[in-house]
Symmetry: C2
Subunit: 456 residues, 2 copies
Amino acid sequence: MMNSVNWISDLPLLATAAESEYAPFVLAGVLLSLVIIYLASKLGGELSRMMDLPPVLGELVGGVVVGASALHLLVFPDSGAFASESMVMTTLQFIGNLTPEAVTSIFASQSEAISILAELGVIVLLFEIGLESDLRELQKVGYQAAIVAVVGVTVPFAAGTAGLMFLFYVPVIPAVFAGAALTATSIGITSKVLSELGYLKSKEGQIIVGAAVIDDVLGIIVLAVVASLAKTGEVDVFNVIYLIVSATVFLLGSIFLGNFFNKSFVVVADKLQTRGKLVIPAFIFAFFMAFLANAIHLEAILGAFAAGLVLDETDKRKELDQQVIPIADILVPIFFVTVGAKVDLGVLNPIAPENREGLIIAVFLIVVAILGKLVTGWSVFGQPGINRLAIGYGMIPRGEVGLVFAGIGEASGVLGKPLQAAIIIMVILTTFLAPPLLRQAFKEPSSEVAEPVDAG
Amino acid sequence: MMNSVNWISDLPLLATAAESEYAPFVLAGVLLSLVIIYLASKLGGELSRMMDLPPVLGELVGGVVVGASALHLLVFPDSGAFASESMVMTTLQFIGNLTPEAVTSIFASQSEAISILAELGVIVLLFEIGLESDLRELQKVGYQAAIVAVVGVTVPFAAGTAGLMFLFYVPVIPAVFAGAALTATSIGITSKVLSELGYLKSKEGQIIVGAAVIDDVLGIIVLAVVASLAKTGEVDVFNVIYLIVSATVFLLGSIFLGNFFNKSFVVVADKLQTRGKLVIPAFIFAFFMAFLANAIHLEAILGAFAAGLVLDETDKRKELDQQVIPIADILVPIFFVTVGAKVDLGVLNPIAPENREGLIIAVFLIVVAILGKLVTGWSVFGQPGINRLAIGYGMIPRGEVGLVFAGIGEASGVLGKPLQAAIIIMVILTTFLAPPLLRQAFKEPSSEVAEPVDAG
């Protein structure tokens, strides 16, 4: 007789047996969540564009609308939601006739899968930002931009952190995290407005764009340091120094060693013949660097960013950029919408009196975010007659990197809900404000009016 | 005093609190697994190509090498592996100084994330196959191809299922599943060999390619039906009829309604202006159809395939195809490598006497897989002098869809390890055998030698 062989799979009955039983429902939940995420991102992005605002802002607001603040189409257990509050889960329960326990287990698995996809999304985003940051361009903008960048990182960080700690008695770790979230300028928004106004190639435009690029790099280093502090839960001077040094060495080291790696990458990619011959080696490199950064207690996105900077120096850059775009188009919105969805703006609802303290702090953060960047205009030296107000306004918008702070702060559990909501509102407001302010600054005559130059 | 506000996140301490604490390690595990998967897929794919074999075969073998059968770089708890057997997990344990309980929890989360990515990979694969299947071409090939396809699906399915049940006493559900895995022909492999030999446009070539396309469609319907049977665990005549009807109605209904939907899709895609303006609406549609198919108890891949067929009829086809390629390049290898990695070929090791029964069944499956397709050559009528042997050989290779069977059989837990391994070996062997057999068949003179025609 041959029926002694196990024809039915002989799984050990661990927790995974349950997961295997519910696997089709987890997949259904992931698919439905992705449909909601993509709908929110496209609707928000397109509406934003119609109002002449950056699409990423619309994706974020789209996430807020479908998330914990409003429609509850997309909620997450780690922000305290129960399965019964998720529209996706109630739909699955209706379709599959599931028990509440089954739904809770499916909810956890589904949310974890979406969170991982969102993390892959931010990794691909930073890889793409790295690919698009031209290091040689950066060297050209020189000292002026570097000073503006450093002032624009230091002032909001110091004022924000100190204010939260000493005015509002916020503990040091969340205060440092929120202060750090004020540092990064969004290059995308400003450069788009500058280009529309025809000032992209003006002296002011060059300084702003250069400073924004440096800001991104500084911001990512600050994030790596702050997120590591959040993991250990204490601020120890030696640890801070170790983290700053290791993040800087990691980034500079990657760029330096990358000059040698570059050539072998091109040689290998040229030899490959099968599908994905360029994009797969690039992702092997990006994911390995992300893993490496994670393994030495920095952030995965720092590694992905470094990988992008390195591959940007190869002559495969354009082709690779082209192929990374659709992948980023699919993965990045998952990150932005998820960040928006996880925020509960209800904690800042001004009608409830218990929210008043949180609201005051949100207002404080927004004021620091604006003034802390505005002063950068006056840090420019040796340029008589330069439009300082325009430079200050140009540095105001926070964007992708500010959201990365909010997302990672949420994931590491260090930001309380009011602080997290305050950061999101700060990103939204600064992004809304910058374009009209910038337009106005270039209209007002300064002592020597900057000539509009064609954006080319 | 304002420190009454919760600045530290106030998570409810569910299971997710643990997941939040380990989240960086889960991400690190996913990144490292993806690096291994991509390395295995590229090495395997390129080696395969050098040996003039299809890259997908190399990706599968690459998965077998890094998986449970050999290197243990990529193993999964639902195939019975423990965290300590996973090289990825021992690496993480070394880096993070983790407790065994933490590693087990991270292992489960990481494996689930990779499994979801693999499922998204097979969904994107079927979407792409749908996008590339031209329905109008299919109508042209006509009855000859349809008969070859139906014979080539019916004979291996009936012979395989009956043989397993009556010769080897395999229970009905796994027998039906294994029989079904014998049905689908891989169009990719055969058409590449035909094109190399210059016979793609010959009468034989046209029949083979047409039959392979129909086979894919029939195979996906068979899979949807069989996988649903596996979920309920019993074969009930009414249920089988319901499933066959619903799968067919779903597919034909999508194509029919798709003719109307098509136009609105193009109108919407033309209006969108932001990034991902084509690919995001396409994925919304594909994922929604996949969800729908899943919700009515069919398979998600059937919905993705239908979505691809529908969008193939729009004039956005080429542009969309172009953008789906890099996304598929990144996601599809996760599926193939995972299928290979989950198989334990050790259960068919001929040295161990307890494996003998499994081995005999594997040999039986392979013989049925070859003979069941070979007979299709003699089902062609009204074509005197046609090279029947060439048609039969051309139908032999199983490929992507055969692997989809193995993958879904594994996920639903219906296939025991020996049957699963036998299916994988069947796919590998038939794919290896077909090209040399086909070359030989076209060299042997048949009663009226088919003239080589340029592949155009």
